[in-house]
Amino acid sequence: MSINATLIGQMITFTLLVWFTMKYVWPPIMQALEERKKKIAEGLAAAERGHHEMELAGKRASVALKEARDQAAEIVGKAQKRAGEIVEESKESARTEGERLIAAARSEISREVQQAKQSLRDQVSVLAIDAAEQILREEVDRKKHEKILKTVAQQLDKA
């Protein structure tokens, strides 16, 4: 139970233990702990950044979506407008075409009528002259009445 030289031996042991711990044990462990702390902090920061970026991307995506929707609506509107225009145009062209056809038909008709009238006039005048010849053969001298006949023919022409 007495204090003796063991004390000195123990002190030397203790000093060596502390020295060894201080030199070879403590620094690498603390360094690793610091490094891990740093890594974790970096990881957390990266996660935070990623989260932030995701939010931004979400916002960007919704903006793009909205733009696309607007564009689509605009395109549809334009298309509808264009379709209306096309319908209007085709209606217009159909009408003018119809009118043109009608006009052409009318002029054709009037030409035909004119022709028919002409041929009728010719035939009527021939018939009238025939009839008058037969009636007047007996009593009219062709040469005598030629002037009158011509006048009649002229009148018929005018009609």
Partner: protein, 258 residues
């Protein structure tokens, strides 16, 4: 706590046998071989485990050993940061060494009291005390080393004159100089004495109670030794912790200017 045949001399002889160190030498130059052996052995065990952990240490995912070592290191580091506000490369490793070494030496107390001495007696070693911290030499070796560090840092931080001033002029001013010196000397000397005696007393008493329990009939022993061992688990950890914390506190006091 094996039952065994007592040495001649009955209970008293048994107790004395257990409290006698294996020594070599005469007078002051006596050396307690068992204390030295176990403390060096446990110190090497501590260094071995921690060195392996320190070599394999990675900032990635730690293994089991690294986990244990890191937990201890962080625990000690927190204690140091809580009470010591300067910068020192020594104090934290010192605290770690004290905590683990004292804990391991205390832990020897939980090995059945007769196991190692009986094995030793088979191979011809007559006496063996397995718990180094029940030897005043071991506890005082640590507390005196800490005391030397306290003085060293006091002088280093405050300067020789500053330290002398503190010893002579506080707490009562220059008119009571001798009284101040006496008071401060007692205050400083009380630190290593209380450190060493506290650890020694706790472990010595614990060991003695294990020895006393081992003297009882075998059917009573488990009833007493089991709760005492559990209680002692708390004590050995607590004593290691107290020794470490007080060392840190004393050294941070030595670093503070008044």
């Amino acid at each position: 706590m094996a039952t065994e045949t007592h040495d001649a001399g009955g209970a008293t002889g048994y107790i004395i046998h257990h409290l006698t160190s294996l020594s070599a030498g005469e007078g002051f130059w006596t050396i307690h071989l068992d204390t030295l052996f176990f403390s060096v052995f446990l110190g090497c065990l501590f260094l071995f485990a921690f060195k392996i952990a320190a070599e394999k240490v990675t900032s990635g995912v730690p293994g089991l050993l690294q986990n244990i070592v890191e937990t201890l290191v962080e625990f000690v580091d927190t204690q140091v940061k809580d009470s010591f506000h300067g910068k020192s490369k020594l104090i934290a490793p010192l605290g770690l060494t004290i905590f683990v070494w004292v804990f391991l030496m205390n832990f020897m107390d939980l090995i059945p009291v007769d196991l190692l001495p009986d094995i030793a007696s088979w191979i011809g070693i007559p006496y063996l005390r397995v718990v180094p911290t029940t030897d005043l030499n071991a506890t005082f070796a640590m507390s005196i080393s800490v005391f030397c560090l306290i003085i060293f840092y006091s002088v280093k931080v405050k300067g020789g004159i500053g330290f002398a001033k503190e010893m002579l002029l506080t707490p009562f001013g220059p008119w009571l100089m001798p009284f101040n010196l006496l008071l401060k000397t007692v205050e400083e000397l009380a630190k290593p004495v209380s450190l060493g005696l506290r650890l020694f007393g706790n472990l010595y008493a614990g060991e003695l109670i294990f020895i006393l329990i081992a003297l009882l009939p075998w059917y009573v022993q488990p009833l007493l030794s089991f709760p005492w061992a559990i209680f002692h688990l708390l004590i050995i950890t607590l004593q290691a912790f107290i020794f470490m914390v007080l060392t840190i506190v004393y050294l941070s006091l030595a670093h503070e200017e008044h």
